[in-house]
């Protein structure tokens, strides 16, 4: 049975800005199970933004995050997690999930069992959640995700 981990990141939404990323190792294939996109900006306005999930072949530079395990009996995650990228990952291929988010709303996506978004077990490869663009002004956005390995 796969082990579940979770973490979150926060940025001011801007075009082509990655908020969180999960990088595989040669030992495991990380599987994306759930994403929650929300905003804690105030005052509330009708700004909107578009978010995508894509696989990358180079992880870029980010703030390291230690994901929380859902079962305290499990070991620490093998995947390498990061948030608020200062150097963007090198995305390859098509977007795997495309979500439009209005600041007034919270959007949650979850995969059915065995239908997760998967990245190859190759070093520096993985998946990132990034803002494609915004309409209105950039606001504080929070992305939480759950992955399994």
């Amino acid at each position: 049975m796969s082990r579940h981990y979770g973490f979150s990141g926060s940025i001011t939404g801007a075009a082509n800005k990655t908020i969180v990323g999960v990088t595989a190792t040669s030992a495991i294939r990380p599987m994306l199970k759930r994403i929650i996109i929300s905003s804690n900006a105030a005052p509330v306005a009708t700004n909107s933004s578009e978010w995508q999930v894509s696989r990358f072949t180079a992880a870029g530079t980010s703030t390291a995050v230690t994901p929380v395990t859902f079962d305290s009996g499990n070991p620490a995650a093998t995947s390498i997690c990061g948030k608020n990228h200062s150097v963007e990952p090198t995305y390859a291929g098509v977007s795997l999930l495309d979500i439009a988010h209005n600041q007034l709303a919270t959007v949650q996506w979850r995969a059915a069992p065995d239908e997760e978004i998967v990245a190859p077990a190759t070093a520096a490869n993985g998946m990132g959640v990034y803002c494609v663009g915004i309409a209105g002004s950039g606001v504080a956005e929070i992305v939480s995700l759950v992955f399994a390995e």
């Binding site: 291929g93 996506w109 979850r110 978004i117 190859p120």
Partner: protein, 99 residues
């Protein structure tokens, strides 16, 4: 809550919670790229409105027995498992179809 079954067998679910309530939509997983897409009624996939895309038809893959996302790169049958194996440097029977 408004629940809108938009796929016969959903592979995922999108929940949008806003000031006007909650909307739940089904998503399907493309057997070729492994991405999820939201179905709209009539076997259509919702387009990216920011790019001016309109809904496009989902294309059925007989070999995978599943609907694909219909993107040009997913028209030819190369299952996601083979793509991941190829990225990991393993040999697959689909290698001649991948760069």
């Amino acid at each position: 809550m408004m629940y809108s079954h938009t796929a016969r067998k959903a592979h995922g679910e999108v929940t949008i919670t806003g000031p006007d309530g909650e909307t739940v939509l089904d998503s399907k997983k493309c057997p070729h790229c492994g991405g999820h897409f939201v179905m709209v009624k009539g076997n259509l996939i919702e387009g990216r409105k920011t790019l001016g895309e309109v809904a496009r038809p989902a294309i059925y893959c007989q070999r995978c027995d599943r609907l694909t996302c219909g993107r040009p790169g997913c028209v030819e049958c190369v299952p996601i498992g083979a793509r991941l194996d190829h990225a990991e440097g393993k040999t697959t029977t689909y290698d001649h179809l991948m760069p």
